[in-house]
């Protein structure tokens, strides 16, 4: 059974959400503040973390920073509806996705499932593709590992998924809709900047090409492209 860590200060909400997610066949543990949550992550491995942004003491953004220092566990942020700054900061700091709060718990569980599906793809499919090499970039889909110039690159699971899609279609333009559908497991919403934020973060983590360009290019109005050379 896959394990979920819920970090939120609203005791009653957590209680109900736990019940809901447990009914969907997950094992749920809860923490009522960011500090306790990031410590639980140190002691125990979780498959996914659901993190509320608005919390007293250590808020969600700070908690995410603390988590990312030692773990690449997928994180879904619960952000206030309409608050774009929190979302973008969260994604930049390595959150995998966000769910507006308040929203239906069904939506949250759907996002949890989408992310977990990506992180644990079917083994047999991966074994077919041994490794992908494009220039200085090497990807091992089975281990979800990435190297640039033989140096390992640490990516979050969403970043990895997006890069893998681009690498499999190297040299071609992949639309944002496709990236969202296959990388985040959901339809691209209007005014959704998640893909751009994730890709800008990948660009920072990968090095530059010999000619000084980024290996991932934005193709205006159509999508993104991983350069083949």
């Amino acid at each position: 059974m896959q394990t979920v860590l819920l970090i939120d200060d609203d005791v009653e909400l957590v209680e109900m959400l736990k019940e809901y997610i447990e009914q969907e066949n997950f094992a749920v543990q809860v923490a009522y503040d960011g500090l306790a949550g990031s410590q639980m992550l140190l002691q125990q491995a979780f498959d996914i973390v659901v993190l509320d942004v608005m919390m007293p003491k250590l808020n969600g953004i700070e908690t995410l920073k603390a988590i990312r220092q030692h773990s690449n566990v997928p994180v879904i942020m619960l952000t206030a509806r309409g608050d774009n700054t929190d979302r973008i900061i969260g994604l930049e700091l390595g959150a995998d996705d966000y769910v507006p709060k308040p929203s239906s718990p069904r939506e949250l569980v759907a996002r949890i499932r989408a992310i977990l599906r990506r992180v644990r793809p079917q083994e047999n499919i991966n074994s077919l593709v041994a490794q992908i090499t494009i220039g200085a970039l090497t990807i091992w889909p089975a281990q979800r590992l990435v190297e640039w110039n033989n140096e390992p690159v640490i990516l979050t699971s969403t970043e990895y998924s997006l890069l893998e899609i681009l690498a499999k279609n190297a040299g071609q333009v992949v639309s944002k809709q496709d990236l969202s559908q296959h990388g985040l497991g959901r339809q691209l919403a209007r005014f959704d900047r998640s893909i751009d934020v994730h890709l800008s973060s990948i660009r920072h983590k990968l090095g530059l090409l010999p000619d000084g360009r980024h290996c991932i290019q934005t193709v205006f109005r159509s999508g993104y492209q991983l350069l083949k050379s």
Binding site: D10, V11, L13, M16, Q23, P56, A80, R81, P102, S104
Partner: protein, 372 residues
């Protein structure tokens, strides 16, 4: 340069030009008259000499009267007036600039304030100026600062209200989700939904009360209120709540002549009730809350002490702000509006409310009301 500058300039310049020309003409007329007089005197002296000379001098000798040098003295003294005009031109320009510049600055500041930028300040550009215009500038600055603070607090309040309304909404959404997921537990989900909607209703009611008090829309209906009776009714409700946490509430009614004050009974009840409930809420179970009253010099003091964790010193002034939650409190039930309402009510009655930490632990909230 603005229109005002040119107006000032033209007025000053014309005024000075007129006075320069007037003074110039007056001077030249005066000088003309002096010259005439001097000439006449000289002529008279000359004729005097002549008659005397007639007696003493040879007749053949003729006295040459110097012909009156008729250097045409201009009636209009052009050069001095031109110099004066130039001087007044420069002076008028300076004076107009001196008056119109601060007004222009003020206008710019008002315009930027009207565009929503309350950061514009005028005081700095006034320099060391000390006059009514500088006063106007600093008055503008004070206004801008006050307005900015007010606007900020309103925005903050709105932000907090929306957040505070979101929490019950988020719980409602999950309760609905649970009801869908487990139809067999419909009853408990419905109870939750009911509870959350009641909570939202309470919050909206409290917010309305607070906003009415803050805007001063409530007109007090003052009557004579007996303090002992008031506190006794507050305690009846509070004991019920305290019993749940095994908190005892100590209050010894004053035996001396019962204290009474002027005020609106239900509002005062609400204010004191909020303070007492707040004390109970932040107290550990099995502790004491004590209420003391005293009267001195026309004032009544009501003090509510608890044995909770207290409030960080720097936050003592903030706890009467709506939605403020102390950093050393855990999640507590309630909306964070109670003490703000209490403060508004007490202040509407001309009193004051303050909080301090007790050395032995706990918070002490004092209400001070006028006896008359």
């Amino acid at each position: 340069m603005g229109r005002l500058y040119w107006k000032f300039f033209i007025f000053f310049f014309l005024a000075q030009l007129t006075s320069v020309i007037g003074v110039g003409i007056a001077f030249s007329i005066q000088r003309e008259r002096d010259d005439l007089q001097r000439e006449r005197v000289m002529q008279m002296q000359a004729t005097g000499n002549l008659t005397q000379g007639n007696l003493t001098l040879d007749k053949s000798q003729t006295l040459e009267v110097p012909p009156r040098q008729h250097k045409p003295r201009p009636w209009f003294p052009l050069i001095p007036i031109l110099v004066g005009a130039l001087a007044s031109f420069i002076f008028a320009a300076l004076l107009a600039w001196y008056f119109s510049k601060p007004i222009k600055r003020l206008h710019q500041a008002f315009a930027s304030a009207a565009n929503g930028n309350l950061d514009a300040r005028v005081g700095v550009s006034m320099g060391s100026r000390r006059d009514e215009l500088a006063d106007l500038g600093s008055a503008f600055d004070v206004m801008a600062v006050r307005l900015g603070a007010l606007l900020q607090s309103q925005t903050r309040l709105l932000h907090q209200v929306s957040h505070e309304l979101r929490s019950p909404l988020a719980r409602l959404q999950i309760a609905v989700g649970l009801a869908r997921q487990q139809p067999e537990k419909l009853e408990s989900s419905l109870a939750r939904i009911e509870r959350e909607s009641e909570r939202m209703d309470d919050l909206v009611g409290e917010l309305l009360a607070l906003s009415r008090l803050e805007s001063g829309a409530i007109k007090l209906e003052k009557e004579s209120v007996n303090l002992n009776e008031l506190l006794t009714t507050v305690l009846e409700d509070a004991r019920f709540e305290g019993d749940a946490k095994q908190i005892s509430i100590d209050y010894a009614p004053q035996t001396e002549a019962s204290i009474s004050l002027q005020g609106q009974q239900d509002l005062l009840h609400r204010a004191i009730d909020n303070v007492v409930r707040n004390a109970i809420k932040y107290s550990a179970s099995q502790s004491h809350v004590s209420i003391n009253t005293s009267a001195e010099n026309g004032y009544i003091n009501i003090t509510v002490n608890d044995q909770g964790a207290g409030v960080a010193e720097e936050e003592l002034g903030l706890i009467f702000q709506a939605f403020f939650r102390g950093s050393n409190t855990n999640q507590a039930d309630g909306h964070g509006v109670g003490l703000a309402i209490a403060k508004q009510i007490i202040e509407a009655h001309g009193g004051s409310i303050s909080a301090k930490n007790i050395a032995t632990g706990g918070l002490s909230v004092s209400i001070r009301l006028s006896n008359v």
